[in-house]
């Protein structure tokens, strides 16, 4: 192992390489399988980033789809309406315009996260959930009313820049960032806030700042996921980023066990594939989905993929 890379960074590099190889081989894959695979990647990004807020930091947010929408719209405008102005900067290299759009989308979403977080993170529990839900709906209503981005009809004909490399490269970076953050000295602060806010404050932690950091970083990655989503589906509209979308992400986090890295990734994969499999049931799909959700909460509220291994210390290990 080279000295300048530790093991987790090596894993990240391998994952990026694998994403590149997968992209190289992707023309052999069925286009449906390909789009489901990319959907899985996007959902992993969404679930991991929400896990930072809901799981690790313990701040229950129901507005993640709103930040996703901000990123999706920003990126889509950059590669669509503003592309003629931006292309010259990149010398006509489309492959550079897309990552630029994704990152700007993420940054704008992060700013939105900061604006939403600053006032609402003073609240706790149910109230925080409702306020984030409210902000998510407000973001949706604003997009519905801005004619520049198509109003309620949304944006169409977004170029299909998303491919396996971008999606899984970003997924790897997101998972790595959240993992590295949580395993750093700084990251322990998030756990402290989640475990006992008053105790954390008594230990001298600036709990508000920890919550803000979690919120802004989470929103950033949600924005990037939104950009990938827009360039995968080729069209976006405000109602696609409603309350139900946020719930979908929350369910992945809960199913995987709040504050677990691997569990949440597995849950994101499982739920995306399950949603696809349930499509054949047509109208029954959502009924089955909701019943599964209720049953899960009644029988395994700690998460589907969690088994108590040891009594203590096991709670926060991946």
């Amino acid at each position: 192992m080279p000295g300048w890379l530790n093991r987790s960074q090596l894993v990240l590099a391998a994952a990026l390489l694998a994403a590149g190889v997968a992209q190289f081989l992707s023309n052999r894959l069925d286009s449906y399988v390909l789009s489901v695979a990319m959907g899985v990647g996007i959902n992993i990004i969404l679930a991991s980033s929400l896990n930072l807020i809901n799981g690790f930091t313990g701040q229950f947010s129901l507005g993640h789809a709103g930040f996703m929408a901000v990123g999706a719209y920003t990126a889509a405008v950059l590669t669509g309406k503003l592309a003629p102005q931006l292309q010259p900067i990149f010398g006509g290299h489309v492959e550079l315009l897309f990552p630029f759009a994704l990152i700007v989308g993420g940054l704008v979403a992060a700013v939105a996260g900061g604006l939403v977080g600053a006032p609402s993170l003073r609240l706790k529990g149910d109230y925080l959930a409702i306020v984030t839900l409210g902000f998510g709906e407000i973001i949706k209503v604003i997009f519905q009313n801005v004619e520049y981005v198509g109003g309620a009809k949304g944006l169409n004909a977004i170029p299909d820049y998303s491919n396996l490399f971008w999606v899984f490269g970003t997924t790897a970076i997101t998972v790595y960032t959240v993992w590295a953050l949580m395993n750093s000295t700084y990251g322990r602060g998030f756990l402290a806030v989640a475990d006992d806010e008053i105790a954390a404050e008594a230990m001298g932690l600036n709990t508000t700042r920890y919550k803000m950091v979690a919120f802004v970083v989470g929103a950033f990655f949600a924005g990037i996921a939104g950009g990938l989503f827009a360039h995968l589906n080729n069209s976006i509209n405000p109602s696609g980023f409603d309350f139900n979308k946020s719930i979908e992400i929350v369910v992945m986090v809960i199913l995987g066990g709040m504050g677990r890295h691997t569990g949440v990734i597995l849950a994101a994969i499982l739920l995306t594939v399950l949603t696809e499999l349930l499509r054949q049931f047509g109208d029954y799909r959502m009924v089955i989905y909701s019943l599964l959700l209720i049953l899960l909460m009644l029988t395994r509220p700690q998460g589907l993929l969690i088994w108590p291994i040891r009594k203590s210390a096991s709670r926060r290990t991946t």
């Binding site: 229950f60 006032p119 609402s120 003073r122 609240l123 529990g125 149910d126 109230y127 959930a129 409702i130 306020v131 409210g134 902000f135 709906e137 407000i138 209503v141 604003i142 519905q144 009313n145 008053i198 139900n244 719930i247 929350v250 369910v251 809960i254 109208d283 029954y284 959502m286 009924v287 989905y289 909701s290 019943l291 959700l293 209720i294 909460m297 009644l298 509220p301």
Partner: protein, 301 residues
């Protein structure tokens, strides 16, 4: 002037419906400290029960559109919703009594999704025209246009609010409800069967939501399985606005929200109606988290 009065009347009837739904949220929050997301779908079921029962009554040749027939439909819907509410609590929430609020919250969202999607399968996705269950007539008073349905809405809402006030303040079970809401452990120590009280609270709240659904159907021409979403959220905002856990607060909050919404609808900002409601909610939570009439809870370490 006439336009203002017209808006006041519209605001009152919308506010009354919000108030009825908000009471259910606030009562459940009072005893269980969680947001019953499925409440808005019980509201929807109330409207659909009225739709089908008024049809059935009509088929049996019972008072098509008479005033008594309308009241009967209303009572049937309320009773059905009460039963549904109690069942939801018994099957989905009671097993989770010792779990974290978050678990119950997600379960409530699951129940809500189930009722909405189940409703879409059973009732169909397309909106249905709501029948005239009360004899409908339009009065013109100067420039004012008042539909008799709006008067019925106000009358029924007022009657139900008074009845609720009487139950909560004057009866034995109402006293027990207040005791459980004040301190559930202490209430069970003095011999109150908390589970029974919680069931009763769900039944009562759901009956009010059912009535709200019928009244909503009367004022808005069509009903559909997802109709609960928007009024449900508004009513929840109303409950928080008035101070969640406070019954007069829920009624006041409903009225305020009804007025604000009709007010905003009259301006060119009408498409931002929902955003305004949420902005009010956020403002209230930030500056007066206990709501207008709520008590401040002191958090102890």
């Amino acid at each position: 002037m006439t336009e203002l009065l017209q808006q006041v009347i519209n605001g009152l009837s919308l506010g009354a419906i919000y108030a009825l739904i908000a009471l259910g949220y606030t009562m459940v929050y009072g005893v269980l400290r969680f947001i019953n997301f499925a409440h808005s779908d019980v509201f929807m079921l109330g409207a659909f029960t009225a739709f089908y029962s008024s049809r059935a009554l009509g088929r049996w040749g019972f008072a098509g559109g008479g005033f008594l027939g309308g009241l009967l439909v209303l009572v049937i819907s309320m009773a059905a919703c009460a039963v549904i509410g109690v069942l939801i609590e018994r099957l989905a929430y009671r097993p989770l009594r010792k779990r974290s609020t978050l678990t119950v919250l997600i379960t409530a969202i699951g129940v809500s999704l189930f009722l909405q999607n189940g409703g879409q399968m059973v009732f169909g996705v397309n909106p249905k025209a709501f029948p005239n269950i009360f004899p409908s007539q339009t009065f013109k008073l100067g420039g004012l246009v008042i539909n008799s349905n709006q008067l019925v809405v106000l009358g029924v809402a007022l009657a139900l609010l008074s009845a609720l006030h009487w139950i909560v303040q004057r009866t034995r079970i109402g006293t027990a409800m207040r005791a459980v809401s004040f301190n559930a452990t202490a209430a069970s120590l003095v011999g109150i069967d908390t589970n029974r009280i919680i069931s009763f609270t769900f039944g009562l709240g759901s009956a009010l939501a059912g009535a709200g659904g019928v009244l909503y159907g009367m004022n808005y021409p069509s009903i559909e399985p997802l109709m609960g979403n928007s009024p449900g959220l508004k009513a929840f905002i109303a409950a928080v606005l008035g101070g969640i856990g406070s019954l007069p607060g829920a009624a006041l909050g409903g009225m305020v929200l009804g007025f604000v919404e009709t007010g905003v609808s009259g301006t060119r900002w009408s498409t931002y109606r929902d955003a305004v409601a949420f902005a009010i909610l956020i403002g209230i939570l930030l500056f007066r988290p206990a709501g207008l009439l709520g008590r401040n809870r002191i958090e102890k370490v």
